[in-house]
Amino acid sequence: MERLVLVTENRSKTDLLSRCRDGDREAIRTLYMENQKRVYSIALNFFGGDQERASDVTQQVFLKLLKKVDFRGDSEFTTWIYRITVNQCIDDSRKSKRYLNFEDWFGFAEPVTRMSLTDKLHSREISAEVQAVVASLKPKYRLPILLKYVEGMSYQEIAGVLRCSIGTVSSRLNRGHKLLATKLEHLRNEV
């Protein structure tokens, strides 16, 4: 039954995509409205709150969806769209890293922002600090965290998007959590 629902849902998404590629603006708008939040949110948090980059990545993802990539229906549509988003984020990230030391890519950067104690009392600013620290993690730790806590996905769904095992998702989240705790130890009382 579950499989049947997936097939039906994927078929309707395939139809929607097909209409989109035929230039049907209403269908394109529908596709965009249904998915913009998840794509933009992943990109925004991936780039530590950089709205310009997140907007650019979001636009690229949808243009790819509309023009180039074939959805074969062999995975859930949302898994597929997350996968494209993740790849686009990594591609974009690589572009900007090309002229930097590669250690930056494999290692950790310092949190982008430093805030005063007073500011930290404000929830929004704590979130911004968390966002900055998450963005400084290696992508292999960053992506499972984003998919888990921004999108609320299960380990199995994350494994589907990242094309790895559930065990890998589990161990990367484990490591990611501990890194966050180490870097944001001073916020222990805020949580």
């Binding site: 890519w105 380990y155 589990s170 959590h177």
Partner: protein, 417 residues
């Protein structure tokens, strides 16, 4: 007896991503193990902090950007809209038009209106000419068919081809639009942008740059001092030849649809963005920004992923891909291996200097080194990317294709992680 800890499972435990029995075991363990409990508190802190991340709507400007991009490419999309969009009346009108054009072409071609050709029948002898044909001679360049040629055969050879179809279809199939970015690029002898037809060259001088629109799949920016030819374009393949200079391609299409020939290799697009430079000697350097490009020559292939480069040398063939962040020493050793007389010494140097981001190079080297040298390349690569399940040392050393391919997939995963 050594006590078992559960540090690796603590996230799954906190997120309730395990079955009830396992949860019970870990819960009991946490009550008695200070070490794991401390870790669990950290995991919970990390999870609590991560929960602060939020979903956010994209700004309206994103949609406007998408719309603007769609409007820019709308005419081309509409030109290829599906027949299902046509009303029955339109389909009927279109079909009638096709029949009329076809008949007109047929009659014109066979001289019924112009009388310029001889008709043949299936017996192989000229048919009786119509009255309007008596005073018309066949032009010198035309030849009559040999005896025995049938109408059917002749039709197969000379019925209107795609080159005879209406202009809109013909132009899409035989040229790429060219836009001048700066200066005055030349197409053939004409200056300025316009159309690059199959067989024509586009040339830029030191001050000019141009952009070629490649069908509907992307564009190619031509750098100054370049010479590029449109070799062919069809639904199955679009092919340019870069004789010298540079280009920057942004292509989003199924693999192998877009190819650029250079004097030393062919760059086969696998869905990507890349820069390709060719020097005066015909050597080239490829730099991939996103996706993959395959460099091919004489049955040999280098698959270059985003973040990697590759040299080719005229007369010496393909180089090995390397990370754009490779050290100069590593690059020098690799060039010595690829195009010099480096041999085992170069292999040794490469292996010793290899770092995590040289895994693409190491994988390619497996099949390019001698059996003796392969062992140390294997060890170096295994240090960074352990061979996946089912891939063995013996299998790799004997160049088992399946195992090489499986290891390549793991290397790729590690590369993009």
């Amino acid at each position: 007896m050594k006590e078992r800890h559960y540090k690796q499972q603590l996230s799954a435990f906190a997120d309730q991503e395990m079955n009830k029995e396992d949860r019970q075991v870990i819960a009991e363990h946490l009550m008695n193990c200070d070490e794991c409990r401390r870790e669990y508190h950290d995991v919970r802190l990390g999870a609590g902090l991560a929960s602060r991340l939020e979903q956010v709507d994209a700004p309206e400007s994103v949609w406007r950007g998408i719309e603007a991009e769609l409007n820019r490419s709308a005419p081309r999309l509409e030109a290829f809209s599906k027949p299902s969009w046509f009303s029955l009346r339109q389909v009927g009108a279109f079909a009638t038009a096709v029949v009329v054009v076809g008949l007109l072409s047929f009659f014109v071609y066979n001289g019924l209106f112009t009388g310029s050709r001889t008709m043949y029948v299936s017996t192989g002898v000229p048919a009786n000419p119509g009255p309007h044909e008596h005073n018309v001679t066949i032009a010198p360049s035309q030849t009559t068919e040999p005896s025995g040629t049938t109408t059917a055969n002749r039709s197969d050879q000379q019925l209107p081809t795609s080159a005879d179809t209406p202009p809109a279809v013909q132009t899409d199939a035989t040229f790429f639009p060219v836009e001048t970015i700066t200066g005055t690029p030349k197409i053939g002898d004409a200056a300025g942008g316009g159309r690059l037809a199959v067989g024509e060259y586009l040339e830029t001088d030191a001050r000019s740059r141009a952009r070629i629109e490649v069908a509907e799949i992307g564009n190619v920016e031509i750098a100054p001092n370049s010479r590029v030819k449109l070799v062919g374009t069809s639904e199955k393949q679009h092919r340019l030849s870069l004789e010298r200079g540079g280009l920057h391609a942004k292509i989003a299409a199924p693999p192998r649809l877009f190819i650029v020939d250079t004097p030393s290799a062919a760059a086969v697009d696998l869905g990507c963005e890349y820069t390709l430079d060719v020097d005066q000697q015909g050597n080239s350097k490829l730099n991939v920004k996103s996706g993959f490009v395959a460099l091919e020559r004489d049955g040999r292939e280098s698959i270059v992923p985003a973040g990697a480069s590759c040299f080719t040398m005229k007369g010496k063939g393909l180089g090995t891909p390397f990370s754009t962040a490779a050290t100069p020493e590593f690059e020098r050793a690799l060039r010595n291996f690829d195009f010099g007389s480096g041999g085992s010494r170069a292999v040794n140097e490469i292996v010793n200097k290899a770092r995590a981001y040289d895994i693409i190079t190491l994988w390619h080297m497996l099949s390019r080194v001698s059996t003796n040298d392969r062992q140390q390349v294997y060890d170096a690569l295994a240090k960074f990317v352990p061979p996946p399940l089912g891939v063995t040392r013996d299998g790799i050393l004997s160049l088992n294709k399946d195992q090489l391919e499986r290891w390549r997939a793991s290397v790729e995963d590690a590369w993009f992680e």
